[in-house]
């Protein structure tokens, strides 16, 4: 695990989540940011700020990324979502193309 292989996602409150790029790229939006040609500030520093996503939702999203990786490798478990998070989570998922 190398530092260059990780990306830092920052929530509205400034909470930071450091995850593998491989996991972050479950999101098509983040994948585009990290792989598009030309130098996005995001690509160079490995940091993406989401001023509209709260930490609770962003953490859930990161957990989903890893769950998704595990699932794609044949580990079929359930992904639990607290009912009160569903609306915000759907809005974030829509934005992230996840």
């Amino acid at each position: 695990m190398k530092k260059e292989d990780t990306v830092k996602l920052i929530s509205a409150e400034g909470m930071e989540f450091v995850i593998d790029k491989e996991a972050a790229m479950v999101s098509q939006t983040i994948r585009n940011m990290l792989t598009s040609p030309g130098s996005f500030a995001e690509t160079e520093h490995g940091e993406v700020t989401f001023p509209e996503i709260s930490a609770v939702i962003l953490e859930k999203i990161c957990q989903y990324f890893y769950w998704s990786l595990q699932y794609s490798r044949g580990k079929e478990t359930e992904f639990y979502i607290e009912p009160e998070l569903t609306l915000e989570l759907m809005m974030a998922a829509n934005y992230l193309h996840t």
Binding site: M1, K2, K3, T6, S11, E13, G14, M15, E16, F17, V18, I19, D20, A23, S54, A55, V56, E59, C62, Q63, Y66, L69, Q70, R73, K75
Partner: protein, 103 residues
């Protein structure tokens, strides 16, 4: 990757991929590449039980499971380890209401 754990300190969360057979020391070495802190200056604490993880034991032995939350504390200048300090998102809202002066 069999599982991942969430290592938290202050307002940062590190998602670390690992296997149940790896030791706490293996995790510290992974953290070392991310935060430039020597493994000897790191202490990992399983948040659910409050137990300090021992370097030589595996994660499975110490009941660290998939998606577990582990607190990271670092050695301070006086050679003691700092207390567990994890910022909860809710703290922000409270502090915003309590003293808007700092914003």
């Amino acid at each position: 990757m069999a599982m991942y754990i969430r290592v938290k300190r202050s307002k940062t969360t590190y998602f670390i991929q690992c296997d149940p057979t790896e030791t706490a020391l293996d995790i510290k070495q992974k953290l070392h590449t991310l935060i430039d802190q020597p493994v000897n200056d790191q202490r990992l604490i399983l948040v659910n039980t409050g137990e300090i993880l021992e370097d030589s034991k595996t994660l499975a032995d110490q009941k660290v499971e998939n998606d577990a939350v582990v607190a990271l504390t670092l050695r301070k200048d006086d050679n003691e380890f700092e207390d567990v300090n994890i910022v909860q998102p809710n703290d922000f809202y409270q502090s915003r209401d309590a003293d808007s002066g700092n914003w």
